[in-house]
Symmetry: C2
Subunit: 150 residues, 2 copies
């Protein structure tokens, strides 16, 4: 897997991914460690909350989306490295048994002025569930190495 | 822990937190599950990357920040529920042994027009390491119940 240089991307390119299934036990364990709130840790308590049932921590959905992204075809050389701001939203919660996949689209490509060896690639990363409903939208700006001169 | 209603917050209020230490083994396990890249999973391989050593997945830093936030004094009644957009950035990576804490500041309070029982509270959530360097900045918009009429 050699990976792509900045010059190998074009605005409008899209990349799909495999899928990942959200498991209730893993959802609750993640939440006990990182987001200990009743709607994330306990089915019965969750019924009486805003969500009406167990939902994944948004950070679990985000982390799963990252794995799908890292394992997808977008593969920048040197890895998937965030450069900063990533507006992040969760239009709907993720529930046990949901099957997630992501789609990434290249929105913008800008060579760095201060660092001639890299470029900044802005991506729209959308996470879908099995009903093709949007579970998360993120806009990562990624650091991508430029192709070295021969 | 009764929790605070929308009316109990004021713009400019700040809330601190306890601390959490980033552990190398947990960092690598998180990354194997969610962000399998050499700079997150293997000290030796990480030395030869952009980061020059093992760093936590940004999503691990985000998840730890969430736990510090949930356990902090901000405690909205009904829980810490994100309403949507949260601009997220990682000015510097988190490394093994780093001790994180967060500070949250209320930036804006806006009653919902469409749902009279809730308000939206915009917060700046800053994650610091033990040297008081900023490891993460996020701007969550939170759903907070309004105090019921008597």
């Amino acid at each position: 897997m050699p990976g792509r240089y900045f010059e190998d991307y074009a605005v409008g390119q899209k990349f799909g991914s495999g899928t990942a299934t959200m498991n209730a036990e893993r959802m609750k364990a993640f939440a006990r460690e990182f987001d200990p709130q009743p709607f994330h840790t306990d089915e019965e308590a969750a019924r009486h909350t805003f969500f009406g049932g167990l939902v994944a921590s948004g950070w679990h959905t985000a982390a799963m989306s990252m794995r799908l992204f890292v394992e997808s075809d977008i593969t920048p050389v040197g890895g998937s490295i965030g450069a900063g701001g990533s507006d992040l939203s969760w239009p709907r919660p993720t529930r046990p048994g949901d099957v997630l996949r992501i789609e990434s689209e290249v929105l913008d490509l800008r060579p760095s002025k201060s660092r001639p060896t890299i470029g900044i690639m802005k991506v729209k990363l959308t996470t879908y569930n099995q009903a093709n409903e949007v579970a998360q939208i993120a806009y990562p700006a990624m650091i991508v190495p430029r192709r070295p001169a021969k």
